[in-house]
Each structure stands twice: as structure tokens, then as C-alpha cells.
């Protein structure tokens, strides 16, 4: 369950007697628990549990409108028909394909890129380490919509100095061409996520005990060898966590393609599953269909985190750490 940081979390939270033994104040403690936990629990129910249940409920009903969609709505139980409709819809399937392609390009790119940078920072070869990390991190502080707008301008012929410079060396790249769409999207996400991920990896690398690295040095392992054979395996849990969160992030892909869809007709209104949901709900007013697609995504998220958690737990168990 503790997919986030199993080791630390367990160490920090698991020993049950951590809770302060309170002989006199049992009542006061119960009241304090209720007051401190109450607001969050109310939010958990209203913002997470209730909408989830409602989405599941909605996904089993279909609404038809009399007249041209303006008449009274009639709601009828639809069983699994909404789910079938979503899965049968070529535009949804295409959206899933786009997301998969995007994930296959983006996840290795961001993980490998950040890992290399973090290892370089950790190697002690880099000057101005703190400053460089901060500079790399800055794009993460840029709201997604603004980052996308910036890159959109840099992709747009006539405005972009990048395209201008490329043209000067007679290279013509059309970032908004059909087969460049996914790479263009990946570039935006990479720009925003690379520094953030690097900082996470770097923090994990710093946590490796120094004597482990020294022992490797004594054994005659070179820098690269130490990095690949010792450092990387030792931050495996962090790697898995990052991959999991990045994967779940890719399932949310919405803002960037939504903006791109305004810039090029090649990106349709149902380009990704999230855009599909938005389109189904607010353009086609088909809440049942949108809810079914939401529930499908929800199930995929839960399955993914479960699988990754299990895989990490097994492997770290075998490694004996």
C-alpha cells in the first residue's frame, strides 16, 4: 500500500506504540483526534469518496434528451452499455494509443535524463551544484498552461526564434506536423519535469551511506561502474516511485494537448482519454459515457499502483534491504 516511500514510512509510522500513551486523557485524546482529523475526513468523503461512488453510479445510467437535447432528460439504467460504448469508440481507443505512445517516449526520457543528471551532480564533478539544480527546477514552478503556451509559440513558424535559427542552417522542422505531435508534447513535459525529477533522484543518491561508495572505490570500481552497479540499484525504490507517479501523470494528459488542439487541427477534441471525458461530458452532454471513461481510468490507476507496489515490495524483499 505504501507505494510512496515504503521504507521511510514504515520506519516512521509503523511502530504502533508511537502513539503517546495517555492514561488520564483518553477522552481528551479522542476529542482531539476527532477535531484534528475531522476536517480532512470530511474532505476525503466529499471530494474523493462521494464523487467516486457517484461516477460509478452515473456510469450505469444513460440519459436521453427529448427534442434536440433541450427537452426533459430521461434517465434509464444502462448496465454496462456505457462501458461497451467507450471501449468500442475508435476515438477513445486512439486516445489510449496516443497516451501509450506518449508514455513510452516520455517516461524513459525523463527518468534516464534525470538519473544521468543526478548521478553527475552526485559524482562531485559539477560546479555550482546547488545553483544548477535550482535553475533546472525552475520550469517546474511554471504553470503547465504557461509552459505550454511558451513552447507553442516556439513551435509556431513566424514567431519562433528556434525555427528561425533552424531555417538559417536550412533545417526545416514542423513541430506541429502529425508525426511530431507526440515528441512536441513530450518535450513540453520533459522541460517541466526534468529538474524536479533530478532533485528527487539526487536526494536519494545523497542518502546512500558513504562507506558503501568508499568500499566500491577500494574495490577498484570506476565512477561509471559505481554509478551503474551500486548507486542506481540502491535507489531502486525511489526509481519505482517516480516511474509510478510519472505514469499516473501521463494518464492525466490534458492541458498541453488541449492547448495544442487550439493551434492545430491535427489534435482533435478527443486526443487523449481525459480530453475524451471532457468532450463527452461538456460537448456531447453524455454524462454516462464520460463517467464510464472516468471509472475506467480510475481502475487503471489503481491497478498500476497496486502492481508497482507489489513489484517493488517483492524485489526489495529479495535484495534483503
Amino acid at each position: 500500500m505504501s507505494a510512496l516511500a515504503p521504507g521511510r514510512a514504515r520506519r516512521a509510522a509503523a511502530p504502533v506504540p508511537t502513539a503517546v500513551p495517555a492514561a488520564p486523557g483518553r477522552r481528551s485524546q479522542r476529542a482531539a483526534t476527532a477535531l484534528l482529523l475531522g476536517p480532512f475526513t470530511v474532505l476525503l468523503l466529499t471530494v474523493f469518496v462521494l464523487p467516486t461512488l457517484y461516477a460509478v453510479h452515473l456510469s450505469f445510467f444513460s440519459t436521453s434528451h427529448e427534442g434536440l437535447g433541450f427537452g426533459n432528460a430521461r434517465t434509464a439504467f444502462a448496465g454496462l452499455r456505457n462501458y461497451a460504448a467507450v471501449l468500442d469508440d475508435p476515438s477513445f481507443v486512439r486516445g489510449v494509443g496516443v497516451t501509450l505512445l506518449y508514455a513510452v517516449v516520455f517516461i524513459p526520457a525523463v527518468v534516464a535524463g534525470a538519473l544521468v543528471l543526478a548521478l553527475l551532480f552526485d559524482s562531485g564533478l559539477v560546479r555550482a551544484r546547488q545553483l544548477s539544480q535550482t535553475v533546472l527546477f525552475v520550469p517546474h514552478a511554471v504553470p503547465g498552461i504557461i509552459g505550454t503556451v511558451i513552447w507553442l509559440y516556439l513551435y509556431t513558424p513566424g514567431i519562433s526564434p528556434v525555427l528561425g535559427a533552424l531555417e538559417d542552417v536550412s533545417l526545416e522542422v514542423d513541430f506541429l506536423a502529425l508525426d511530431m505531435l507526440v515528441p512536441s508534447l513530450v518535450n513540453i513535459a520533459l522541460w517541466s519535469g526534468l529538474g524536479y525529477t533530478t532533485v528527487i533522484f539526487f536526494a536519494a543518491l545523497r542518502a546512500i551511506p558513504a562507506d558503501v561508495i568508499e568500499a566500491a572505490a577500494v574495490d577498484g570500481a570506476g565512477r561509471v561502474r559505481t554509478a551503474l552497479r551500486i548507486k542506481v540499484p540502491m535507489i531502486r525504490t525511489t526509481l519505482t516511485t517516480v516511474v509510478l507517479f510519472t505514469t499516473i501523470g501521463t494518464l492525466q494528459l490534458f492541458t498541453e494537448p488541449m492547448l495544442l488542439s487550439k493551434a492545430t487541427p491535427l489534435v482533435g477534441p478527443r486526443y487523449t482519454p481525459n480530453m475524451y471525458i471532457f468532450d463527452a461530458a461538456f460537448t456531447r452532454n453524455n454524462y454516462g459515457l464520460a463517467a464510464a471513461a472516468s471509472v475506467l481510468l480510475l481502475v487503471v490507476c489503481c491497478a498500476l499502483s497496486y502492481a508497482v507496489t507489489r513489484a517493488t515490495a517483492d524485489r526489495s524483499g529479495k535484495a534483503g534491504s
Binding site: 516512521a12 495517555a22 474523493f48 535550482t134 514552478a141 514567431i159 536519494a204 577500494v218 551500486i230 471525458i277
Partner: protein
């Protein structure tokens, strides 16, 4: 792979090389051939420098483009300082739609600062309760917290909108403000921070002094959790400032838009009316300043947050 790790680590600083160890390789940190060392240093710094340029150049473009007038913007002609139009652009930005931009800025500040301040308090208090108290259903409730961390907000936005419409809350400030208070990852962090920063002995002492549990939290626990609170606040601030999907779904009244949605609406209008392009550019620049400044000022907090959340 694992076997190499374990055998290597089993030699704690021993000087005798294992039989299998390759002697030819240099140990890191030991001066080898100066040329090789210099070149690996150069390569490392080059890679980092190029990545830093990749991070910064688009932002530099935004800054330069903000100071360009429309014609220069389309000509990518930024270095002609005769046309330095930053002040004109700001003036145009503030004049547009009777100052709607400032309104959006205020909304963003309200949603983000208000939401993060309250949300972080709610999360840290819950994390503290999870750490310090025993109660029935604790494990199950925390499991639910972890599950909700994994669920993308976009998936829940539609049912949330429909629920909000039912209780006539859609298209109100609350429809955006209430959902952003929910931060399960903050609860998770709050629990970690509480375990790390608030020793039980201190609470015990407060109790001996006759302080009730709530009082201990307010005057002892929360004070020690200060850095943790700032961390959660900062992450939540960013998340809300960046929030786009929820306001897009919930709001139809332009006067309630946060910056992200406002800029989006200008972006949608720009292909028809090119006057919106410079407004977008300068509006974007001003919109990202608070976050960049917050991150630069509060570095040690977000660093500690990333470490606590993801290491090990």
C-alpha cells in the same frame, strides 16, 4: 547485479583488493591521469550547462517577448531596444476588459494562498493525528488516503461538477476552493514530518504541565511542524496555482476565473484577434513570477519535502 552490490559492500574499507577485483581501474576520487579527469569534468559540466540552458531559454524568450511590441514579437526581433514596449504591454494588459487580468490575479491569489494555507493546516493536523493517536479504523483510513493520492484529480472533476450543480455550488468560488483543500499527499507528508520533528517526550511534558491534547497540538506540535507546514503549503500552492482542469469544469463566469483559465480563454481568442498574443505573453510572465519567487525563497523547504516524500 545485486550480488555485485552485496559482495562489494562487504569489504568495509579493507585495503586488500578482492581476488576478482580489476586492478587496472582507477578509484573515483583518486587522482588519475590529469587529462582523463579534466575531460570527464568538462563533459559533466557541459551536460549540466546544456540542460540548464534548455530549462532557461524558453523563459528568457518569454521575458524578451514581453518587452517586444506586437510587430517585433512576430518578427522575433527582440534586440531592437528602440521598441522596448514592456510598459506599453503592461498598460494594455491592465486595460483589457476593464482590468479583468487583475481580477484573475486576485482570484488566483485567493484560491492558491487561501486554499494552500487552510489545506496545509488540515493536512498537517490530520497527519499529526495519524502519527500521535490511536483510534479504530486508523489503518483502513490511512490506506484510503494512499489510494486517493494515486487518483488523478481530472478523473473526479466531472462527478464533482455534477454534485456541485446539484447543490447549486457549481460556478461559485466554493466549487474551486473546497476541492483544492483536499491534499492526501500532504497528510502523508504531515505524518512523516510529525514522526520526525515532534518527539513524544515533548508532548508528554506538555501533558504533565496540564495541557490538553488540542492545546499541545497548537502550541507545541504545530510549532515544531513549522517547516513541514511550509513544505506542504508550497506544494499545494503550486498545485492550485497550476490548476486548470477543475476551474475549467466548474466555472463559467469569467469574473471567477483564476489566471490559468483566463489566459486559456485569451489563448483561444488569439487566432482570431492577434492583439491577444502580446497580452498572453506579458500576462504569462506576470502570472508565473509569484511561484518562481516562492520556490527560490523557500528552497530548503521544497527540497526537504521532495526528500521526505520520495527517498527510500
Amino acid at each position: 547485479m545485486t550480488s555485485t552490490t552485496t559482495t562489494t559492500t562487504r569489504v568495509p574499507g579493507g585495503s586488500a583488493p578482492r581476488p576478482g577485483a580489476r586492478r587496472g581501474e582507477r578509484a573515483p576520487g583518486r587522482p588519475g591521469a590529469p587529462g582523463a579527469r579534466w575531460s570527464s569534468r568538462a563533459v559533466a559540466n557541459l551536460v549540466v550547462a546544456l540542460s540548464a540552458l534548455y530549462a532557461l531559454l524558453p523563459l528568457l524568450w518569454l521575458v524578451l517577448a514581453s518587452a517586444a511590441d506586437t510587430q517585433a514579437l512576430f518578427a522575433s526581433d527582440f534586440f531592437d531596444f528602440d521598441d522596448f514596449a514592456l510598459a506599453d504591454n503592461v498598460r494594455a494588459l491592465l486595460a483589457e476588459g476593464d482590468g479583468i487580468y487583475l481580477r484573475w490575479y486576485g482570484n488566483s491569489l485567493l484560491y492558491a494562498v487561501g486554499g494552500a494555507a487552510v489545506g496545509a493546516l488540515v493536512s498537517v493536523a490530520a497527519g499529526y493525528a495519524f502519527d500521535k493517536f490511536e483510534f479504530t479504523g486508523k489503518r483502513q483510513l490511512f490506506a484510503l488516503v494512499l489510494v486517493s493520492v494515486m487518483v488523478p484529480a481530472t478523473v473526479l472533476a466531472l462527478p464533482m461538477y455534477l454534485l456541485a450543480s446539484r447543490v447549486a455550488m457549481a460556478n461559485t468560488v466554493w466549487s474551486v476552493l473546497v476541492p483544492v483543500l483536499f491534499n492526501p499527499f500532504g497528510v502523508y507528508l504531515g505524518r512523516l514530518f510529525s514522526a520526525a520533528y515532534v518527539p513524544n517526550e515533548v508532548l508528554e511534558a506538555a501533558r504533565v504541565d496540564g495541557a490538553g491534547e488540542l492545546r499541545s497540538f497548537w502550541s507545541v506540535g504545530l510549532r515544531m511542524l513549522g517547516p513541514g507546514y511550509v513544505t506542504v503549503f508550497l506544494f499545494q500552492l503550486t498545485a492550485i496555482w497550476n490548476n486548470f482542469f477543475l476551474p475549467l469544469v466548474m466555472l463559467s463566469d469569467e469574473a471567477l476565473y483564476p489566471l490559468s483559465l483566463g489566459l486559456y480563454s485569451w489563448n483561444a481568442a488569439a487566432p482570431i484577434n492577434p492583439d491577444y498574443y502580446p497580452l498572453m505573453v506579458i500576462g504569462s510572465l506576470l502570472a508565473l513570477l509569484p511561484l518562481v519567487v516562492a520556490f527560490l525563497l523557500l528552497q530548503r523547504f521544497w527540497r526537504s519535502g521532495l526528500t521526505a516524500g520520495s527517498v527510500k
